[in-house]
């Protein structure tokens, strides 16, 4: 193939892609797509999957100590849902051409990132409430627009994930509601968890728009529909009345209604801390990665056994098919012979 035909083909493909994007249609796995689009999506979808997987840890920390059996059941179901979300998302990422094993390797080697919020500790039961209400709440604000993302498998995975996330958020809110209407110690526990989670939750939307150079391209590709700051604002507007209903305060002295803008103003976030946690100096970065690697390493012999067994089964099936084939050949020959006999 000459360079010229490649570029002609590419430009036809590119035009088709551009038209699909302009029409706000969906790109599907078999469609041609620019390498940069594929790369951006693979990174985004796999980071999202990794976040689900690492995000299981702070909550799994309370499964054995949940203070009632009902809460234990809900928490187990929730962490299990997160594993499920990880699975859908890895599958969506695989349709872009990178196998799950490779994506997992990127997580384990530290090459790939996950949401920085999971590098903070879940010290008390109230963190189960704060994670549900604020972390899942922020995730929902981020993810609802992603249901319309231009890449089909991602958008469709997000529809299902969002349904479950909104259930999780409600459960988190309910945990905090019980605590904030309980004893003095319980209310204090709830307030403390909200104080610790508020800032990092607001940072889940990413850096301010001015410092987020990749966002523009993602918006042009209809992957992202709103800017980081727009989504953050939407989230703040949503949680302020919810916090009031809980009887808890949000740890932000600058938080107040701005009549003119029709939104709540909020204070400066600590972006230095955000960057340093991303770079590895959060309270739990090492712990989270070590736990994931250990689970992976400890499970190696199990995965090898499953593979060896599957291979053995396939071989047995192939041998059975072969011997069935032999029998079939015999019967075909026999059939022909009898056809000849009757003069067909």
């Amino acid at each position: 193939m000459t360079e010229q035909t490649t570029s002609t083909e590419n430009s036809v493909d590119q035009q088709h892609f551009d038209t699909l994007i302009a029409d706000d249609s969906r790109i599907e796995p078999r469609d041609w797509m620019p390498e940069a689009y594929r790369k951006t999506l693979t990174r985004q979808v796999s980071q999202h999957a990794h976040s689900e997987i690492i995000g299981m840890q702070p909550e799994a920390n309370w499964i054995t100590r949940a203070p009632s059996l009902k809460r234990k059941a809900i928490l187990m179901a929730k962490v299990q849902d997160e594993a499920g979300h990880g699975l859908y998302l890895y599958s969506a990422a695989e349709t872009l051409g990178t196998p799950r094993e490779v994506l997992n390797e990127q997580l384990l080697s530290g090459k790939a990132k996950y949401s920085s919020i999971f590098n903070y500790p879940a010290r008390t039961w109230a963190d189960m409430g704060a994670i549900g209400w604020l972390v899942d709440g922020a995730a929902i604000c981020n993810q609802v627009p992603l249901c319309r993302a231009s890449y089909g498998p991602y958008g469709r995975a997000m529809v299902r994930i969002c349904k479950e996330e909104s259930f999780h958020q409600r459960q988190g809110w309910e945990i905090l509601y019980e605590l904030s209407h309980g004893s003095k110690e319980q209310k204090q526990m709830a307030q403390d968890a909200v104080n610790r989670t508020y800032g990092p939750a607001l940072q889940m939307f990413g850096p301010p728009d001015a410092d987020s150079p990749n966002s523009q391209q993602s918006m042009e590709w209809n992957i992202k529909r709103f800017s980081n700051d727009e989504l953050r604002q939407r989230f703040v507007d949503m949680i302020v009345p919810q916090a009031e209903a809980l009887g808890l305060t949000l740890p932000d002295a600058d938080l107040k209604w701005n009549e003119e803008r029709g939104h709540y103003d909020y204070g400066q976030l600590d972006w230095d801390e955000f960057m340093s946690v991303i770079k590895g100096s959060g309270p739990c970065n090492v712990q989270r990665m070590q736990r994931r690697r250990k689970a992976h390493d400890d499970g190696a012999w199990v995965r090898e056994a499953a593979e060896a067994y599957a291979k053995r089964q396939m071989q047995a099936a192939a041998e059975a098919a072969e011997s069935a084939n032999d029998n079939e050949e015999v019967s075909i020959v026999a059939g022909r012979a009898s056809a000849e006999l009757i003069g067909a």
Binding site: I53, M56, Q57, A60, I63, T64, R65, A66, P67, S68, L69, K70, R71, K72, A73, M76, A77, V79, Q80, A83, G84, G86, L87, Y90, R100, W125, I175, E178, L179, G182, S183, E185, Q186, R291, K294, A295, D298, G299, A300, W301, V302, R303, E304, A305, A306, E307, A308, Y309, A310, R312
Partner: protein, 278 residues
């Protein structure tokens, strides 16, 4: 594609907590003292196993197993909630009163479910013995004259059928997989085997509950026949080990060293705030 993906039954979602402990609490049915004692035994087994299995969530060999083991643990919490709620109806106690505010010696679980998770092989060995036993138990309990127990069994047996299938598939994979997996699952079976007798031990309590409770000794033959057939298929040996000693009333007096640790962890938060709502 992962080798796990081709066997979907392990990860299938079961009905979960479709009927609720609240339904049982709200039904007004009050268990008699012996029925409550019986329900307590079955509920405590499920609760202890749920505590053990819940640990695997976020630590399993593959995501599909985080989900599968989590699902089994969740079913176990569900069964515990029904059974403890029903038991508590005899004494005016809630499921949480019984789960969080009884001491070690007041629990009635068998030692098998209290055993440590160990590696995945050890956990699967425990799953094999317990799920096969529990399947026989709930199948029989479906025809209990006690309507509540029969209803709980009716729901639980469908879930336990999946647990049994999950265990069986892993026994085959590990037994016929690699040399290492064969060694590990065989070791796991040796570790768990001494606690089998207790599953099938009759107690004086069962004499009082003719037609209501399932007499454990009647479950042995079917359970063991199926377990031994599976082990033969997986080319694993039936462990030749002495059974752990039992007293005349096993569940009243015998329990493992692990129980104290399991409860210390499980009850820590609830006991720090007695009377609190969550």
């Amino acid at each position: 594609m992962s080798a796990f993906a081709s066997h979907d039954s392990a990860t299938k979602q079961s009905a979960g907590n479709a009927i609720t402990a609240e339904d049982i609490a709200g039904s007004g049915g009050k268990a008699s003292e012996p029925v409550a004692q019986y329900a307590l035994r079955l509920g405590d087994d499920s609760l202890m196993l749920a505590q053990r299995l819940g640990w695997w969530i976020s630590r399993a060999p593959e995501l599909e197993e985080d989900i599968a083991l989590g699902n089994i643990a969740l079913d176990m919490v569900g069964h515990a909630r029904f059974l403890l709620t029903y038991a508590g109806s005899a004494w005016g106690k809630s499921e949480d009163d019984l789960a969080y505010f009884r001491d070690e010696e007041e629990f009635r679980s068998v030692r098998l479910v209290e055993q440590e998770n160990g590696d995945f092989g050890q956990t699967i060995a425990r799953q094999l013995l317990f799920s096969f036993y529990q399947y026989e138990l709930y199948s029989a309990l479906q025809s209990s004259q006690d309507q509540t127990l029969a209803a709980i069994a009716d729901k639980a047996v469908k879930e336990v059928e999946y647990h049994q299938d999950h265990a069986a598939q892993w026994i085959l994979r590990l037994g016929l997989g690699t040399d290492e997996s064969k060694r590990r699952i065989q070791e796991g079976l040796y570790y768990m085997w001494p606690y089998l007798d207790e599953l099938f031990a009759d107690e004086p309590l069962h004499d009082e509950l003719e037609g209501i409770a399932v007499r454990p000794s009647t479950l042995r033959e079917n359970t063991m026949k199926r377990i031994e057939a599976l082990l033969a298929e997986a080319e694993l040996e039936v462990p030749k080990v002495t059974q752990a000693r039992l007293s005349d009333a096993p569940r009243d007096g015998e329990y493992s060293e692990y129980r104290g640790y399991i409860l210390a962890e499980m009850q820590s938060l609830a006991r720090k705030h007695p009377g609190a709502k969550w």
